[in-house]
Amino acid sequence: MVENQLIFELHQVCFAYPGGRPLLNNLDFHLRAGEKVGVVGSNGSGKTTFLHLLMGLLAHQQGEVKLFGNKVVSRHDFAGFRTRIGLLFQDADDQLFSPTVIEDVAFGPLNQGKSVAEAKALAMRVLARLDIAHLAERVTYQLSGGEKKMVSLATVLAMEPEVLLLDEPTTGLDEATRAKISEVLKGLDLAYVVISHDYDFLADVTGLTYYMHEGRFADDAGQVIHNHFHLHPFGSYPHQHSH
């Protein structure tokens, strides 16, 4: 990959759901190889829509979108790029549809044209890297919430994408799983965009945080998250500080 290559280039992009108010309004955004950015914003501010637009699950109505330097217009244009971008969905049950974990993780590589043996080996390597190799033969719907999230991450990483899009990866997870995810993310040599309401987590895994407001990133974008006093949720019981 070329150093500093632009992965995403969005210029004056607009999007509205049919009959709805404009959700994305002249939005500008750039992401370069290796950049790790966070996105915060209130509920319904268009954060998830923004990720789905980058993935071509929704089509932008105005403006210009470039992926890896190529201009894309219709959703069809995205098909060739989708396997280079990994999207982690908010709800793991949407992501895991195969009966067993190993089949789900191998699904992406198989679609990329790998043989069954290659895909299986790759899937096992990724599971081992995330310390969840013991889940391989488990049935997906019987996993706990944290396990489901880790397996979802494995399904995305198994495709060896060049950039990750993560939609609220820590929502509803316990401290241990959250710490594990942030450890995994920090160890990756990939660019990623993380949507989250979890400021501590964002401060830990991203360098820069954008604030989404009224359908675009606020003008003074690139806020640096700062230290603050906070409540200890378990009283005197210690918890890990990520900053």
Partner: protein, 252 residues
Amino acid sequence: MLKEHFIQGKSLLHRLDPRGKVLVACFFSLVVALTHSPVVAGGGVVFGLLLVLIARLPWRPVGRRLALVNIFNLFLWLILPLTYAGSHHWQWGALVFSYEGAALAALITLKANGIFFCFLALVATSPVVTMAYALQRLGVPAKLVHLLLFTFRYIHVIEQERQRLVSAAVVRGFKPRVDLHTYRTYAYLVGMLLVKSFARSQRVYEAMLCRGFHGRLYCMSEFSLTREDVVAVAIMLLSVIFLGGYEWLKIS
């Protein structure tokens, strides 16, 4: 929920190649479902029971399912003898019982139980997922196989969603009664479940697109026919041919 009660086991029928099992089960159902002869239907029950014995299935869950199947047959026994026109009958007041109706109810009961035993021993002894891939290998259209696999995967999620909706109603004091409020609430519940399932199916499809799905699911388990498979499947197929042949010989 969909617990696969019968897939645990080390019997011959658990070991057999699922393709052979599904083939025998379908052929058997065809012969038994189409027969007019009580002897063939009775033979089907014996064949099915033998398979259940060979599979060494736990008797309690088998019994529960057997009762469920025969509740439907009970309705036939209540209705058919009273409504079927026939030459032989006996009368009790205004009620006319026909022997032909009873014979028909008996024939249907035999058929239903025979097919039930056979599917229990041959199909329910493999995991649904394995069965689905076996069907794919046998040339069943991919769309139907996907339908089966996704139904199996998401029926649990939909059931959890239903339970969440029911709890949401119950914690706000909902008690089912015979009134419009109750019916409306149930209608909302079913409607909400449909809408949610539809929305989820779209999200799942999007998730699949994101991982490069282009209309094909790949099967990761390999099937291989052993000598044991060939012999067992051949014996079962011959028995079914014998059953079918018996009726054919009697007609001609």
